[in-house]
Each structure stands twice: as structure tokens, then as C-alpha cells.
């Protein structure tokens, strides 16, 4: 394709700018897709009113007739004027041109905003870190901005001394900072039976990855004199209205992985993410990462909390529920190109996406552009960390024909992400939680990308 793509982004020649309005641009592009190149020339010729015919280039960024891009030739205000001063914003914000990059609710998914979810815009993110303001949200009873000077952490149960700590005291203890993903157990839940939502934001956006800073929970348990011979389970409880409780696996506590965290990406946790204190349970579904953490109880049996005995259980085809399903199994998704996007042209693309496993590090990601018949191994971008998002990339030259893009991840236990067919053969389509099937994106000839499932 060539100069027909009239993008105002500066990527493609804007000339003859001011001669074609937005509607004109679209019609030009539409006609171009029909292969009616003569129309393009006519349209440009008419609009340009007799200027020399534009130099036709095989690229999407041709040299305009004027001998150069007006965005280069005409120096803009930001090159010829004085910019703004320091600390104009005491806390900086994204560019005004980034307003489309927002976390969003899925229309009709929930009836109230307090017991609801917002999805992170994975299609617009780079690398592995989720900007804190775009971190997905899941609240069970609304979020709060809790005064840290009044927040307390209690540790009781099978310990020698039940203890109370202020935030000052929690933050005095030796801390660690680690990158981990947090994924809602219900991420991709709406897709168990069929395609239900259009974009990767809604199919996979209940995942985020941050650098968390905090104190290993085992340190706090030892501070209280935990009886590790009797301790088999730990309860975490939040300070919000629902006082959310979850049973936390002991093995992840004794390994030092579970953190009582106050830091997220270099600053304090965001209120929507549990300010000032939350549990970080690497590899385990988000519901266990109790926010506004107020209490830890050590015990010898699981608690069957509401989110362990009514929700967050996986229904199997025989009517049995799997209870205490915690681990987020190995999963991946291509984030661009992805559903709801359009490829602007034939030619080179970098297919990129995210892979993760609740059991460890990502070992390998393969990518298919023919619906899973043939695969190539993608490049893993460093860092590749245990129980964190891993970014993968692979080169692709699109020939303009329909393509079905998939990714398939393997973790360092050897487990390979399943297809929908393999997953449904075991679990049916009604289990709601823990859908880690391979995602398919159909690239149509028009360049438009659609969420599809294959049979």
C-alpha cells in the first residue's frame, strides 16, 4: 500500500493537507482498498488543484510533492518557542494525547460499580510493568483511601504473642522489592463458552504487573513467634467493609515469597490497589492479594471464606466444584496486533505480547500466524522473572491475506499452555475461573483484527 493512508499522526504524508477533510481521507482510503488507484490520483489531483503528481512510494511515509514533510519543513511551536517550567505539575500526568489509554469497565458485566472490575488496556502497554494508574481494579465492596497513620496490622492465631504493628513499624522492617503479576482468577472468564468481548483489554485485562515493595510475611510471623509445627494455613483479612478473607498457602509463606507490601512501582500502593497495605501472593489469583490488609491469623485448617466456598471455585462438568484453586497456570496473549485494532498496511510488524505462569518463570513462547498449524519461537525480552509478566516479540511480514495469530507459552516446570479444545475436554465450559487457553486473533484482509475462537 502507499500514500493513500491519510493519517494525521505524522507517520504518513499529510499533504495535500487542508485539501481533503476527514471524510475525504476515509473515502480515499476506502477506495484504495478496492484497488481503484486511479481514483486516488484523481482525488489528489482535484484536491491539489494542479500541483505536480505526488511521488508514489512503496512506503507508508512517502516524500510529498513539496519536497519534504511539512512537519519537518515547517518548524512547530515547540521547536521555536519556550516550553513550560519545572513542577508545573507536582505529580506529572500522561500526555494529553494519551487519553485513549484508560482502564475500562466491560458494559453489562456487573450491576454496580462498587462490586465490579475495570480492565487494564493491555493493547497500549509496553514492557512488563503496568503503570499504577492503569492497574486493573477489582473491588468487592468499593474502595477507600485509608489514613496510613491510623492503619494497623494484627497478627494472631497460632503465634506465641499476638502482635499489633503500625505502618511506621511495618516500614521499619527489612524490605524487599520484587516484580510480580497479579491476575484475577476470573480473567478471560467470559470467553469460556464462546467469544464475548472484542479486545484484549476485555479478554485479558484483569492482569497487571508491578514492582512491589514490602516485608516477607514470614518475617512478621516470626516476629510474633509463629508455631511452624502447628501452622498449616494462614488467613488474611482486609479492613474494608467486606473485610475480605482468604486462606493463604503456607508453602508460599515459608518460601519467603508472600509479602506484606506497601510499595508499588516506586511509590506507595494506589488506594484502588489497597493503600496503605496489601498482601502479595506471587502466582496466586488476585483475590488472595488482600487489600487494606488489617489482620493475619495463623491456623491449622482452611477457612472456607465466602470467596472460597461460594465464589472462586471451579465448577467441573460432573457438578463438583474444585475448591481452593489458587495457582494461575501458564498463559500468554498477543497484545498487538489484537482485537479491535487495524493494521494500516501490508509489510513488517512486530508481534508482541505477554506471557506468565503462577508456577515459575516463562521458558519459551511460540507464535503462530496460521491458526496453530505452524509455530515459530519468539524472542523473550529481559527481564524474565519468576511469577512476573514476560514480554515476547517476533517479526512478521503481513502479506495482506487473512491470518490467525496465536501465542503458546511454556513455563519452567515444562507445562505448556493448552488450546480451548484441550481445556474444555477436561473442564467443560462452566467453570468461570482459570481460563488459560490459547487466544486467537483473526487479521482480516481489511486489516481489521477480530477476537475469534477456533473449533
Amino acid at each position: 500500500m502507499s500514500h493513500e493512508h491519510q493519517q494525521p499522526s505524522g507517520r504518513v504524508r499529510k499533504a495535500p493537507e487542508s485539501f481533503l477533510d476527514a471524510v475525504g481521507v476515509r473515502s480515499v482510503w476506502a477506495e484504495a482498498k478496492d484497488g481503484r488507484r486511479h481514483f486516488i490520483r484523481n482525488a489528489f489531483a482535484a484536491a491539489a488543484a494542479g500541483l505536480a503528481a505526488p511521488v508514489v512510494s512503496a512506503q507508508g511515509n512517502p516524500v510529498p510533492a513539496e519536497g519534504g514533510d511539512p512537519n519537518i519543513l515547517n518548524l512547530p511551536a515547540h521547536t521555536t518557542g519556550l516550553g513550560q517550567g519545572v513542577a508545573t505539575e507536582g505529580y506529572g500526568k500522561p500526555s494529553q494525547f494519551e487519553v485513549n489509554v484508560q482502564r475500562r469497565q466491560s458494559p453489562g458485566l456487573t450491576q454496580t460499580t462498587q462490586a465490579s472490575v475495570s480492565f487494564a488496556p493491555l493493547q497500549s502497554l509496553f514492557g512488563i510493568v503496568t503503570p499504577s494508574g492503569l492497574h486493573f481494579e477489582r473491588h468487592h465492596q468499593g474502595w477507600w483511601d485509608v489514613d496510613p497513620s491510623k492503619h494497623r496490622l494484627m497478627i494472631n492465631g497460632l503465634v506465641k504473642t499476638p502482635m499489633v504493628l503500625t505502618m511506621d513499624e511495618v516500614m521499619r522492617l527489612p524490605s524487599v522489592s520484587r516484580f510480580h503479576f497479579i491476575e484475577c482468577g476470573a480473567n478471560t472468564a467470559v470467553e469460556w463458552g464462546n467469544v464475548a468481548v472484542p479486545t484484549v483489554q476485555y479478554t485479558h485485562g484483569m492482569i497487571s504487573c508491578s514492582e512491589f515493595t514490602g516485608v516477607p510475611l514470614i518475617t512478621l510471623l516470626q516476629l510474633a513467634g509463629v508455631d511452624l509445627k502447628k501452622a498449616r494455613f494462614v488467613l488474611a483479612e482486609g479492613a474494608d467493609g467486606s473485610s475480605m478473607t482468604r486462606t493463604i498457602p503456607m508453602s508460599l509463606i515459608t518460601s519467603g515469597e508472600v509479602l506484606v507490601a506497601y510499595g508499588q512501582n516506586g511509590e506507595m500502593l494506589r488506594p484502588e490497589n489497597g493503600y496503605p497495605l496489601r498482601l502479595v501472593v506471587p502466582g496466586v489469583q488476585g483475590v488472595s492479594w488482600v487489600k487494606y490488609l488489617r489482620r493475619i491469623e495463623v491456623g491449622d485448617m482452611p477457612w472456607a471464606a465466602k470467596d472460597e466456598a461460594i465464589h472462586y471455585m471451579d465448577l467441573m462438568p460432573d457438578g463438583t466444584h474444585r475448591q481452593y484453586t489458587n495457582i494461575q497456570e501458564c498463559k500468554s496473549v498477543v497484545t498487538t496486533p489484537s482485537g479491535g485494532q487495524v493494521l494500516l498496511d501490508k509489510g513488517f510488524y512486530n508481534i508482541t505480547g505477554l506471557a506468565w505462569s503462577g508456577r515459575g518463570a516463562i521458558k519459551r513462547v511460540d507464535v503462530s500466524v496460521d491458526g496453530g498449524r505452524n509455530w515459530r519461537t519468539a524472542r523473550l525480552q529481559t527481564p524474565v522473572l519468576s511469577k512476573a509478566l514476560t514480554r515476547f516479540n517476533i517479526d512478521w511480514v503481513w502479506d495482506g491475506k487473512p491470518a490467525i495469530i496465536q501465542s503458546r507459552a511454556q513455563d519452567d516446570t515444562g507445562y505448556v499452555q493448552p488450546t480451548y479444545r484441550q481445556l474444555r475436554a477436561v473442564r467443560g465450559t462452566r467453570s468461570i475461573y482459570h481460563n488459560n487457553a490459547i487466544q486467537s486473533w483473526l487479521v482480516q484482509e481489511s486489516g481489521e483484527v477480530k477476537n475469534v475462537q477456533l473449533s
Binding site: 493512508h5 491519510q6 499522526s9 481521507v25 473515502s27 482510503w29 494525547f97 475500562r104 458494559p107 450491576q111 497500549s124 494484627m154 497478627i155 494472631n156 499476638p162 521499619r172 467469544v195 472484542p198 516476629l223 513467634g225 467493609g241 467486606s242 473485610s243 478473607t245 472456607a304 471464606a305 471455585m313 471451579d314 465448577l315 467441573m316 457438578g319 466444584h321 474444585r322 475448591q323 481452593y324 489458587n326 495457582i327 497456570e329 496486533p337 479491535g340 487495524v342 494500516l344 511460540d366 491458526g371 496453530g372 509455530w375 507445562y415 505448556v416 493448552p418 488450546t419 484441550q422 477436561v426 483473526l442 481489511s446 481489521e448 477480530k450 475469534v452 475462537q453 477456533l454 473449533s455
Partner: protein, 366 residues
């Protein structure tokens, strides 16, 4: 006799209720000066969890009849008079049978065609109901029920589900009997690979797994499911949900899909400069929205949509300029104007109610 300084200190701590364990605190750990023993009173206030073996369950009792009274006053707005939910929250009751009470397995859970899953179909443990009602209900006033009221509400819910008879009085003494009648008490399995650790026994291999075939693999190459055309714009215009620069742009889903022309000719966002009047209105809006949240109005009313009660802007359209009327409705509640679900009287400061009434009378931001 004179006491040693330690003894005086111990007595002082006892007087303060800090009995927990001076010994442990004094012996402290690698982190001297960090943390202090929790008092018995503090632990009692926060340690409210109830386990399946009923550890943590306070003494008390409540009848089905009493539970019905509380239910209709405090629960039915959201959960429906019969636990059917008013289409807002998940239904609590339904789908269980007398046979399920006998077997402890809810037969409908195995049916692909059964339309929904109620709480009573799923929950295996009565402790879960008691614990959650006690800690988190009612939704906008959690922890406002007394233990006896929690027993009563739990009893009523179990009665709605035909687990307990009409004349039952549920208590800490007989709750184990109720457990033996829970319809899905035998419906759980922990035999899976998704708990990290061996607390539930040997861990099987992950159940669904793939291979690393690279060439000429058996592919699921036919498209079996995609969104219907009428859902094209159901999530809003996807063009506006993608960055306007980059290798891919968003599709303009406000237009029908064509062979082409759906490309993202996304104009750069025009930064708007609101005028002073708009800024004032925005500030007023912010205050009003904060009050709506503070007083939990938003638990039942969306600003622009109905939830349990009518949307605030719907109310504003119906009662423009009627500050006093709105003030009265906010304070006293009512029923019948918008349907059969009653709004209880609200206990909020007069000044806050007035701000809200005036804001609504002016259109609630619309």
C-alpha cells in the same frame, strides 16, 4: 513489701489490659522496638472469622421468623423478598431440592442446561454464610447486625431454601445440625493441581496441557466463534480505546465494517478549555458525587442508571427544582414512586442532604 520495678511494670500492664505476654515482648526478636503485643480486647474486636468447624462462632440464637423481619427490612432491597435478587445481585436461593439435602450434592450443578447457580446451590459450609453475613452485610452497612440477628438471617435464608423448617431457632448449639443438611456439603473437591502445597494431600499433575508441536500441527483452523455484527460497537468505539499512533490503530466501530474505511483516521484529541461556569459546575458535581459515595447512596442509585433504585438523573428529570420534596425523600425514604422496592429512611447530616437535594433539583449534572 516493696515490689520490684519489674513487678510494678507487670501490674501496670495488667491494669492496661496488656496481659497478652510480656515475656514474649521482652524477649523479642531480631527487631527490638517493632510492634507490641495485641490486647485481648483488640483481638476480640477484629478476630471475627468463623471456620467450618465453628471455631470463632459466638454464642447466640435467632429464629426463622425473626430472620424474616430482618430480611425484609435490611436485605430484601438487594436480595429480593425470596432471595431471588431483584436482578441486581446473584440470586441466593433456588435450584436445590429435598433430595440434595439428603445427598449433600446439588444435582442441578451437573446440568449443562440449568440456567444459573445460586449461593445455596454452591455453598458447602454453613459457617461461610454466617461469617460473611456477619462481616460484610448489609452491603452498605457491614457489621451492623448483632450475632443474634446474624443467626436469624442465616436461619431465614436456610428456611427459604427448605433446609430448615419454619419454626427453627438456629444457635451455636445446633448449627452443626444445620451443616448436616447443607444441600451441597459433599460437592467440593481439593484433588487438583492448583493449590501450592500438600495440605490437601498429594498434588496431581496439571489437568489440561499442550505439546510443543512446531510444524504441520493438528490445528483448530476453522473460526467457530466471533462477535456478531450487532455487537460491533457494544463496548464503545474501539478507535477511542487505542492509542492514535502506533503500528496498529483502533477500529472505528461506530461505522459498519466495510471492506475498508474502518481504519483509524483518529484525529488528535482536542484539549478543551472549560469556561468558568463549567468549572463551577464541575466542582459542584465533584462535591455531590463525593457525598453520594460517602453516604452509600451509590449502593442503590447509579448517577446515570438504575441499580436497585432509580438513577439520580432520572430522579432529577422527574422532579426539577423541587428541593424540599427531594430533601424529604432523602431523609424519610419512600416507596411506590419508582416501583415496589422501598428506600429506607437515611440518617445523614441535614447539610449534606441539602447539598444533594439542590444538586439533584438542578439536574444532577445533566
Amino acid at each position: 513489701m516493696f515490689s520490684s520495678p519489674e513487678a510494678v511494670f507487670k501490674r501496670l500492664l495488667l491494669a492496661l489490659g496488656l496481659v497478652a505476654s510480656l515475656g514474649a515482648a521482652a524477649q523479642s526478636t531480631a527487631f527490638p522496638g517493632v510492634g507490641r503485643p495485641a490486647t485481648a480486647k483488640e483481638v476480640a474486636r477484629w478476630d471475627i472469622d468463623v471456620r467450618p468447624d465453628f471455631k470463632g462462632l459466638p454464642a447466640g440464637s435467632g429464629s426463622v421468623a425473626k430472620g424474616q423481619e430482618i430480611w425484609e427490612a435490611r436485605c430484601a432491597q438487594c436480595h429480593g423478598v425470596f432471595g431471588e435478587s431483584n436482578e441486581v445481585f446473584s440470586p441466593l436461593v433456588g435450584g436445590t431440592t429435598a433430595q440434595d439435602v439428603k445427598t449433600g450434592r446439588v444435582a442441578n450443578l451437573a446440568r449443562e442446561d440449568y440456567p444459573g447457580r445460586t449461593t445455596m446451590m454452591k455453598v458447602p459450609t454453613v459457617s461461610t454464610l454466617w461469617d460473611y453475613i456477619n462481616r460484610a452485610m448489609p452491603w452498605n452497612m457491614p457489621k451492623s447486625l448483632s450475632p443474634d440477628e446474624v443467626y436469624a438471617v442465616t436461619a431465614f435464608m436456610l428456611n427459604l431454601a427448605n433446609v430448615l423448617p419454619d419454626d427453627f431457632v438456629l444457635s451455636d448449639k445446633n448449627i452443626a445440625e444445620a451443616q448436616k443438611r447443607m444441600p451441597n456439603r459433599n460437592g467440593m473437591s481439593t484433588h487438583h493441581a492448583m493449590w501450592p502445597g500438600k495440605e490437601f494431600g498429594a498434588v496431581p499433575k496439571p489437568d489440561a496441557r499442550n505439546s510443543l508441536c512446531m510444524k504441520d500441527c493438528a490445528a483448530e483452523a476453522k473460526v467457530a466463534s466471533l462477535l456478531p455484527d450487532h455487537a460491533r460497537n457494544a463496548h464503545g468505539n474501539l478507535q477511542e480505546q487505542n492509542r492514535p499512533v502506533g503500528a496498529q490503530h483502533g477500529v472505528d466501530t461506530s461505522r459498519p465494517e466495510g471492506k475498508a474505511g474502518t481504519a483509524a483516521a483518529a484525529a488528535k484529541p482536542e484539549p478543551t478549555k472549560p469556561d468558568a461556569a463549567k468549572l463551577d459546575a464541575a466542582a459542584g458535581q465533584k462535591v455531590a458525587l463525593a457525598l453520594l459515595a460517602k453516604h452509600s447512596c451509590t449502593a442503590c442509585h447509579g448517577v446515570d442508571k438504575k441499580i436497585v433504585g432509580p438513577g439520580i438523573q432520572e430522579i432529577a428529570r422527574k422532579h426539577p427544582g423541587k428541593v424540599d420534596y427531594l430533601l424529604g425523600k432523602i431523609r424519610q425514604g419512600g416507596v411506590g414512586v419508582w416501583g415496589p422496592i422501598p428506600m429506607p429512611a437515611q440518617n445523614l447530616p441535614e447539610a449534606d442532604a441539602k447539598v444533594l437535594a439542590e444538586w439533584i433539583s438542578r439536574g444532577a449534572g445533566k
